[in-house]
């Protein structure tokens, strides 16, 4: 006789409400430890923030990026006049010769070129 009662109890088993399921899931997510990826993210963000602060923030970063791009462009495709101007500036196209007026400084321009 009891088996039929147990069977009935199983067929009309109490079921949790959607509200209870939501509460339990909210608890689970709130109590969940952060994943490894999430734990490492603030470290990367912190380093980047420190770097930005050190160079003077986003405006300075924009200047740095512009200068880098310009330098890269000059390296790849230098203007046609630049080599000639450089040679003229350094005075290497005539008979002048470099004078090391201050040997202690290591590098000096030719005085004639100036």
């Amino acid at each position: 006789m009891l088996e039929s009662y147990f069977q009935a109890a199983n067929e009309v088993a109490p079921e949790p409400s959607g509200r209870l399921m939501s509460r339990v899931l909210e608890d689970a997510l709130a109590a969940q430890p952060a994943s490894e990826a999430l734990r490492s993210a603030p470290v990367v963000g912190g380093l980047w923030r420190d770097f930005l602060r050190a160079v003077g923030g986003w405006p300075a970063m924009a200047g740095l990026v512009s200068a880098t791009v310009a330098g890269l462009w000059l390296g790849i495709a230098p203007p046609a006049a630049l080599p000639g101007a450089t040679i003229a500036y350094l005075g290497l196209d005539d008979a002048s010769y470099p004078v090391d007026a201050a040997p202690g400084l290591g590098f000096d321009l030719s005085e004639e070129a100036l």
Binding site: A8, P33, A37
Partner: protein, 187 residues
């Protein structure tokens, strides 16, 4: 494809996997709630116990030691302990007078009869001593093995057998008087 174990999900939960949090919630909440409902007979109280028991599981997850115990065994034990605490605090309240869970659906006569039988069983379970009630529910409604029940109740297997046998005798005696009332003629 075999279903991922509760323990594997719990370890993934502890590693921060939100999908594991959802899977465990869907899998364990109905079991904890049904057991709490049968132990307490009061749905609102069973909801609180369920939420409390699962919160304890979420908190213990990072320190879970694989292979030491089944997650369900641990959870049943926590649910049972929380229910026992509540029953002791509420001693003196006529649990058999607790209203049955509401069901808005229009039921077929057969389902009505099943509901009547389930309600009669619940009322009879409420009149059992706590330990007998717990053993009978775990063995005959939740369908657990005697060794697992022994682990949950922290007693020996013989003690489980003794509790379920005494519980079933008391239930039978209690329910015999209800048979005619419920139209129960099939034994």
């Amino acid at each position: 494809m075999s279903e991922e174990s509760d323990e594997a999900l719990l370890l993934r939960y502890a590693a921060g996997d939100q999908a594991a949090a959802r899977a465990l919630t869907l899998r364990l909440t109905p079991r904890a709630y049904a057991h709490a409902c049968r132990m307490l007979g009061i749905p609102a109280e069973a909801e609180d116990v369920t939420q409390d028991a699962l919160m304890r599981l979420w908190r213990v997850a990072p320190d879970w030691r694989p292979g030491e115990a089944l997650v369900t065994t641990w959870l049943y034990r926590v649910v049972a302990n929380l229910c026992t605490d509540r029953l002791r605090r509420a001693r003196g309240v006529a649990l058999e007078a607790v209203p049955e869970p509401e069901d808005d659906q229009v039921s077929a006569p057969e389902r009505l009869q099943q509901q009547s039988r389930a309600a009669a069983l619940q009322a009879a379970l409420n009149r059992l001593p706590e330990r007998q009630r717990q053993a009978v529910i775990l063995r005959h409604i939740d369908g657990l093995s005697n060794p697992q029940i022994a682990e949950i109740m922290e007693i020996g297997v013989e003690a489980v057998e003794s509790l379920t046998a005494r519980g079933k005798r008391a239930l039978t005696a209690d329910l015999v008087g209800k048979r005619d009332e419920l139209g129960y003629t099939d034994g």
